[in-house]
């Protein structure tokens, strides 16, 4: 036994070295696979927006008489963008979107912060049931509701009005925002409100002075979510709005910039990019909050 183990080092060592070598090789291969996958994925993911950008910089002439690859632009021009920006109708879409989104974000945040505070901390008869209800409504898609809502909004005389959209958009935003705010509020230690209670805070002060500041990241995430969702909403405006002057951007670009058979592709792509710009900017600056909000729904519930 003794002699065997004494003799073995020289025999074992090359084997160990080979093992280590293959481990390193394995790691390198894994890394190469990872980068190759990511590069391919990034190309696929970014190709459509890139091509939209390229197209938006082209003149109509260049688009309709392609020579060589369509993936590059030969005579870049901002003409398409200028045309849109100087078009009062397009500017109208933009303002409508801003008005709707601002109103919906405010309404949503007030409703969901108040409700989440009440559901996470104060409790009342039936509050458990309501929390489940919030979760269930979050699962109901807008495409199930738009026909009855079409009737209801029509009955209120709000078809073809941005206020009709402000009325119904909370169905898209409130459940999820409430849900993630409940999660954020519930993670605040109980002693903190007890301390505030002893310090003499009433419920409103507890909410505004303690809970909102402490759960600020959650509030930002929920606000971003409400913003993105109301900016991108498509089903409701398509169903409820047919007058161009009340249209928000999404449906405006899709329905009004496509006219006749010869499409102004350059302008269409420029319009789509301009319309997509606000959410992308928000995303670029607040990516961490954006992702926190996205994943909070699943990890907190």
């Amino acid at each position: 036994m003794m002699s065997a183990s004494a003799a073995s080092p020289s025999a074992v060592l090359p084997g160990v070295a080979r093992k280590v070598g293959s481990l390193r090789k394995e790691r390198r291969w894994a890394l190469i696979t990872a980068y190759v996958s990511l590069v391919v994925a990034a190309i696929v993911m970014l190709a459509p927006p890139f091509y939209m950008l390229i197209t938006s910089l082209k003149t109509s002439a260049e688009i309709s008489n392609p020579v060589g690859t369509p993936w590059i632009v030969r005579n870049p021009t901002l003409e398409n963008y200028w045309a849109l920006i100087s078009d009062p109708m397009f500017r109208g879409f933009f303002f409508n979107s801003i008005k709707i989104t601002a109103a919906v974000v405010c309404v949503t945040m007030v409703i969901s912060v108040l409700a989440a505070f009440s559901l996470a901390r104060m409790k009342f008869f039936g509050s458990g049931l309501l929390a489940t209800g919030v979760f269930l409504t979050y699962l109901v898609p807008d495409t199930l509701l738009f026909i009855p809502l079409y009737q209801i909004v029509g009955g209120l005389g709000l078809l073809n009005s941005i206020w009709g959209l402000v009325l119904v958009y909370p169905t898209l935003t409130v459940p999820f925002c409430t849900w993630i705010m409940i999660g954020y509020f519930a993670s605040i230690p109980k002693e903190l409100d007890e301390a505030a209670l002893i310090d003499g805070a009433n419920w409103m002060q507890m909410l505004t002075k303690i809970f909102i500041p402490v759960a600020l990241p959650g509030i930002i995430a929920a606000t971003i979510f409400a913003f993105t969702v109301s900016w991108a909403a498509f089903v409701y405006p398509t169903a409820f709005i047919t007058r161009p002057d009340e249209m928000p951007l999404t449906i405006g670009v899709v329905s009004q910039l496509i006219r006749g058979d010869t499409f102004a592709w350059g302008q269409l792509m420029a319009g789509a990019l301009l319309a997509a710009l606000p959410p992308v900017i928000v995303y670029a600056f607040l990516m961490d909050y954006y992702i926190a909000g996205l994943t909070a729904g699943a990890t907190k519930g």
């Binding site: 301390a195 209670l197 002893i198 310090d199 500041p213």
Partner: protein
């Protein structure tokens, strides 16, 4: 400043758990009272009922003479320090301390004066602009206390304020709390499960067990004159030894028969107290520190001696602990570190019978 009266207070949680089963306690003005007991005995529940954070199921609590059962916490004029400090993470130290005063609409000047005064007492003046995240555990602890001090309330409530600190800091903060109390003299109710903390801080210690108060008294009294087996075993470290024994009367003298070979004489001044129980099976209680090596020149009355074979010897530095087993009971003795003891070697020991206790195993009361 105020006294606190707890009268027949009961707490029953939803689901029928009785956490507190009808306790009575009078706390004097300026007094420092420590509630101590094992985990789950209802200390925190009692404290939270005083604070108004839990509703009182039965009985009444009065602060400064007025019954507060129906008063919400903010109007009880109490301040509380929590185990995890509960500092507002988004506020600076200054704002944390000022928050309660601000909500009570104190003038700015007064707030500043009080916060600075408290910061002075606690030596945290340089920290006033920091956020809690940038503080160490001990500093957070001080801020939490500062938040209580600035309010100048009728009563301070502490719920295990030191249990999140490391051992060394705990000792340091313990002294600090004592010092603060001597400065501001506010009536204090302090909850802990650490009996050393209880003994060092308290004017009076309240020992709780299973929702009832076992005994109330100054630390020395609890140590020397425990009234129940629970208190006798809970106070003191290492814990008191309990050995089954029989009390035998032989020609006017009383003896404890621990076994056929160990018979210990009861001191004369105790004979009257125990006489009525002669012939019964009882529990003999003796603290390790009263079971020592035999000192040659020690001739105090009431010293008894016997031999035992320690199986484990633990040198602790300031003392040496000997463990031996007798009829399945572990017994611990505390020796001077200068005495050489070997495990497995039969060793003579002295018992100070003046410090003994006899416990009725039926009622668990100390006789």
């Amino acid at each position: 400043m105020a006294q606190v009266s707890i009268r027949k207070v009961v707490k029953e949680y939803e689901g029928g758990v009785q956490a507190v089963k009808g306790i009575n306690l009078e706390i004097d003005d300026h007094e420092f009272v420590v509630l101590v007991g094992p985990s789950g005995c209802g200390k925190s529940t009692t404290l939270r009922m005083i604070a108004g954070l839990e509703e009182i199921s039965g009985g009444e609590i009065a602060i400064g003479g007025g019954v507060v059962n129906d008063i919400p916490p903010r109007d009880r004029d109490i301040a509380m320090v929590f185990q995890n400090y509960a500092l507002y993470p988004h506020m600076s130290v200054y704002d944390n301390m000022a928050f309660g005063l601000m909500l009570r609409k104190f003038p700015k000047e007064e707030i500043r004066r009080r916060v600075e005064n408290a910061a002075q007492i606690l030596d945290i003046k340089v920290l006033l602009d920091r956020k809690p995240k940038a503080l160490s555990g001990g500093q957070r602890q001080r801020v939490a206390m500062g938040r209580a001090i600035v309010r100048d309330p009728k009563v301070f409530l502490f719920d295990e304020p030191l249990s999140n600190l490391d051992a060394k800091l705990r000792v340091q903060m313990r002294t600090e709390i004592k010092k603060v109390h001597q400065t501001v003299k506010t009536t204090t109710v302090y909850v802990t499960h650490d009996q050393v903390e209880a003994m060092t801080l308290a004017d009076r210690v309240v020992v709780m067990n299973h929702g009832v108060i076992e005994q109330v008294g100054p630390p020395q009294e609890l140590y020397h004159h425990p009234q129940t087996k629970f208190v006798a075993g809970f106070i003191g470290s290492p814990a008191m030894n309990f050995i089954p024994t029989r009390l035998v009367e032989t020609s006017g003298a009383l003896n404890l028969e621990l076994s056929s070979d160990i018979v210990l004489p009861i001191p004369e001044d105790r004979i009257g107290r125990y006489k009525a129980h002669a012939g019964r099976e009882l529990l003999f209680g003796i603290r390790p520190e009263h079971m020592t090596e035999v000192r040659p020149n020690d001739h105090r009355p009431g010293l008894a001696s016997f031999h035992a074979t320690p199986e484990v010897v633990e040198p602790m530095g300031a003392e040496t602990l000997l463990h031996f087993w007798k009829d399945g009971h572990e017994i611990c003795a505390k020796f001077d570190p200068g005495v050489a003891v070997e495990p497995g070697v039969r060793t003579p020991m002295a018992i100070d019978m003046n410090r003994m206790h006899l416990i009725d195993p039926k009622t668990d009361r100390v006789l």
